[in-house]
Symmetry: D2
Subunit: 345 residues, 4 copies
Amino acid sequence: MIRVAVAGATGYAGAELVRILSGHPEVELTVITSRQFAGQRFDRIFPAMAGRVHLICEELNDERVCDRADVLFTALPHKLPMNIAPAILKRGLRLIDLSADFRFNDAAVYEAVYQPHASQELLGEAVYGLSEVYTSQIRAARLIGNPGCYPTSVLLPLIPLVRSGLIEVEGIVADCKSGVSGAGRSPSLTAHYGEVNESFKAYKVAAHRHNPEMEAYLGREAGRSVTLTFVPHLVPMTRGMLATIYVRPVDGVTAQTVRECLAAFYAGRPFVRLRPAGMPPDTLHVRGSNCCDIGFVADDRTQRLILMAAIDNLVKGAAGQAVQNMNLMFGLDEAAGLTQVPYAV
Amino acid sequence: MIRVAVAGATGYAGAELVRILSGHPEVELTVITSRQFAGQRFDRIFPAMAGRVHLICEELNDERVCDRADVLFTALPHKLPMNIAPAILKRGLRLIDLSADFRFNDAAVYEAVYQPHASQELLGEAVYGLSEVYTSQIRAARLIGNPGCYPTSVLLPLIPLVRSGLIEVEGIVADCKSGVSGAGRSPSLTAHYGEVNESFKAYKVAAHRHNPEMEAYLGREAGRSVTLTFVPHLVPMTRGMLATIYVRPVDGVTAQTVRECLAAFYAGRPFVRLRPAGMPPDTLHVRGSNCCDIGFVADDRTQRLILMAAIDNLVKGAAGQAVQNMNLMFGLDEAAGLTQVPYAV
Amino acid sequence: MIRVAVAGATGYAGAELVRILSGHPEVELTVITSRQFAGQRFDRIFPAMAGRVHLICEELNDERVCDRADVLFTALPHKLPMNIAPAILKRGLRLIDLSADFRFNDAAVYEAVYQPHASQELLGEAVYGLSEVYTSQIRAARLIGNPGCYPTSVLLPLIPLVRSGLIEVEGIVADCKSGVSGAGRSPSLTAHYGEVNESFKAYKVAAHRHNPEMEAYLGREAGRSVTLTFVPHLVPMTRGMLATIYVRPVDGVTAQTVRECLAAFYAGRPFVRLRPAGMPPDTLHVRGSNCCDIGFVADDRTQRLILMAAIDNLVKGAAGQAVQNMNLMFGLDEAAGLTQVPYAV
Amino acid sequence: MIRVAVAGATGYAGAELVRILSGHPEVELTVITSRQFAGQRFDRIFPAMAGRVHLICEELNDERVCDRADVLFTALPHKLPMNIAPAILKRGLRLIDLSADFRFNDAAVYEAVYQPHASQELLGEAVYGLSEVYTSQIRAARLIGNPGCYPTSVLLPLIPLVRSGLIEVEGIVADCKSGVSGAGRSPSLTAHYGEVNESFKAYKVAAHRHNPEMEAYLGREAGRSVTLTFVPHLVPMTRGMLATIYVRPVDGVTAQTVRECLAAFYAGRPFVRLRPAGMPPDTLHVRGSNCCDIGFVADDRTQRLILMAAIDNLVKGAAGQAVQNMNLMFGLDEAAGLTQVPYAV
């Protein structure tokens, strides 16, 4: 059994890690930490898991984590993971970080968007944990920067097409929509029921910190610097994310070409599902699962290829992909612990 | 492996059966039927399960079911199950019926509420599938009348107290609230988004067909005829049911007595969870799981005991309890196939 | 024009006052106060009202209010209104307080539930602002304790029946359900989207502070001390409140008697609507309006009368009833400023 | 008083017309028709309006309408209005049609998208009722083709910029999101609660019938044929529509230029509100009102202008704009009957 610790277990992404890991057949969940709820039973904070999770939340203590775990998931605010990573890795643990701290290999890009980076020496080896794309690097990694939810939903449909040269990488528009759980569990007006219910709006228009993350990996794949127009929106639902992406296909590319490219790229991968023509993806179909459903329409009339990808922002967009990455790193079936059949509604 | 057939697989309860059974480690799902969608791939109707369920919906045909299954679940409208039950049982299959057809041992009660009963000879052996209450009978049964969702939420907290003589059985009020999926998947104004969203209302006030079902089993437990005031309400959410039940405790009964009674009754049963004092149950905590969370307050000031029970109407209130009953009938762990860790949100 | 001030204008009840008053044909809204948003434009906080409300939020200052208003609405936390009331009244303004501070004529009852009362000398003259019940007293009042939302929904259907002696006042059960806006606009886990959406639960079971308020007025009407079992629940919707009330009719009372009693009591009152038999009230039908819809079922089988009342918790349950009271106090049509036709959905 | 008839009064747009018109100070609502509910009281179908609307639904009969009305609103399925229009106009009534039948001056465009047009002789005089844009033509019209909801949300922000030559008209992307009431009141799986709640998805991708409508009017304004990429999405809320529109500004255009253009165009118009920089529009802010809130971001980094417009699909997107057009046609204040202050939540 792999001994696992989760730091920041009482946010939504952390609780989702606890849910998945406590049902994972190859894992023993040994440590969960929470600054706010240290000393309290996890199932008092999340009664859904009563009878299934019996752990007490602890203060985060590197030593105690390292004594009892083989791998640490950090679901902490940006900046904290970069400070504890060196000690964790030195003790031989693997680290899967759900913050942005290890998503960029280039410290300058990180620092332009976030803050000074305290562990730049680790950025070279950190692997971007987009499971289906950087699979072999993830298998060999000891440090994972788990992707943001929006970048996951945008990069999974785009990267195969960029690699195959089927689309123009400049001028892409990503119009994305997220459920409210993406705003986290800390009370705020942003996620206050009365302000969100029966409301739909854009936020951080062309100014969201996931924008440079998308551009970094599109640029790496394209072999040149890329800009992307990205507008996130908030949807009155708890879980789910849909990306609607507008790109220009290169000449001669047809719906058939696109379908073959995506089908080939994701062949054998259990979590990326290509939707039949005429049946766009729906966040309801991936709610609670690690799936990413992809659909597209080639609009010959306007010379646009419209790609759509649906994920659960807390699963494939955070905790589920993190566990998938752990599976890859430890040589397990990538679907281990993630095999639950999705709900119809 | 137990070979299983589901009749009526494309309603919400049927689809939930397919979801649970297709992930059940001891089950091979061999036949699913749907009148409306016969000939179509199940995962085209419920794309959530694409990649996990590969079956084609069939017309219901007794012979074909019997050739390929050891047990049949019927998630059909009332009246259909009573007509096919004799043939199914004669061929040696077990039958778990989610309609009301086999919930009453007394044909007269059934016929007063529903319609003439075509298979009265089977009512004597049919077992009411309230899993934690009639466990031993279920283990020995070949025909189960699976309880209604409202009766499940009302009887689980009440029956232990009735058996122990802690409450007065007359004058009970059950104020119940259900998510909209209880109205089924057929389009209707009742479940039309605009009519339900931002709406809360009672319906079938003191006139719902689950009322006699509750009275039948409370009466059986009390050893005498019982009436109950039952008002169902519709909540703008997909899944979930909460029963708030007002009863009079007999003299000398305290919160401690009640807690000990319930704790003893459900000791060792994985799906009934007693909530700590001061922390009432919440439908969110059981969403998607087979759990029934029970809480209560003894209001000395008004001499009332207020019991609350939360279930997912599609799981413990329908498909989950049905599978739990199958597990009992086939000598499996009662939680087999139902072990998924519940979601925090 | 009546010059009006609103203290606490940026909570949900306060903003609803601003909405109604700024469209009121006999009112000039002159002062709005907000501790948190003092100095800011109201329409920056509530952009819905941009172009319609041009006021700047101020700090609450008695002198400035008194110089510019004839009546003050206080939508402030309990305890603040009792401290400013004497000065306001001395200057000749009328005061309509939406907190609990002036709802009880008996200081001992208030203090048992809330805190020491600093202006007990005013309790004798304060009028409980249940508009349709204490109409003549309200007309003559200079100080109104505006009713709580739950008491409004429970007392409107009950008081006519108590006055007519049609029901037993002991043993009443009020099972109430409220939309989330009742929790206010301050961010909290209680009203956090992820915790409330797809959730239904009871809270403060038999321990809510509106319970003594209901008992005080039922007791006054009955001429003796009364206890009531009251359980509030939270519904995943923004606005709306439904009370389901279980009472015992006295011998000989029929559905017809009840209907005639309620119809006579509310004859000529524009906001209380009696629902036809078999059509229970729905919170959706009163969303955004000052209506209270009442329905009932006489369940002969169990000797219960089941009353249901639906209101919008922010309108008839707070701001709307407060404006209705102002109309009565100033000799206007009680519906002035409240005549908007309700939405179908 | 203007005598008004509404045909198709029991769909969502029709009921919204009844709501607005029954509160309109210059209107007497004389006739409402409904095929499905003919002979029934309107307030039995929409109890929200009990006490305010006392009409009985009738079968649609041209003669009876013409005898009793000065203007007819048709909220009927496409094809019906074109058949009754000639008789209505011949009798001297004005006609405001909410279907697509009179939105296109070019019959060929209509017929390519819809069906053969039976009253082509009227297309030349029909005026497209985009109130703030074609104001003078509307004032003089006797026949209005009321715009679709999506075109309203897309054309209001775009047309001023096209007229001023500030943007390139080719290559525009309109990513639009609608509340569920847009699917109408007839029960269907599309608007079934369980299928829509907690779901977000695109539909009719680049194939919606509002696409040619947008192109027709963008093309007219630009003086040349235009194509537009349009993807509609369904949001789990009842009312509201947000358009996010991606365009390329011409060289030298800045945020300031755009703001000045829009501010000048809509100066003095009560229903179009320009949002402050950094505060994008939100459907919640226009819920239930006739407002269209417009915001934008000039993204210099990608050379995109991102426009956002929020409307209530049933009001500015249908019934409200229709009444605004009636006001213009009859020489009233364009806001008459539409002055209700919007709700904060």
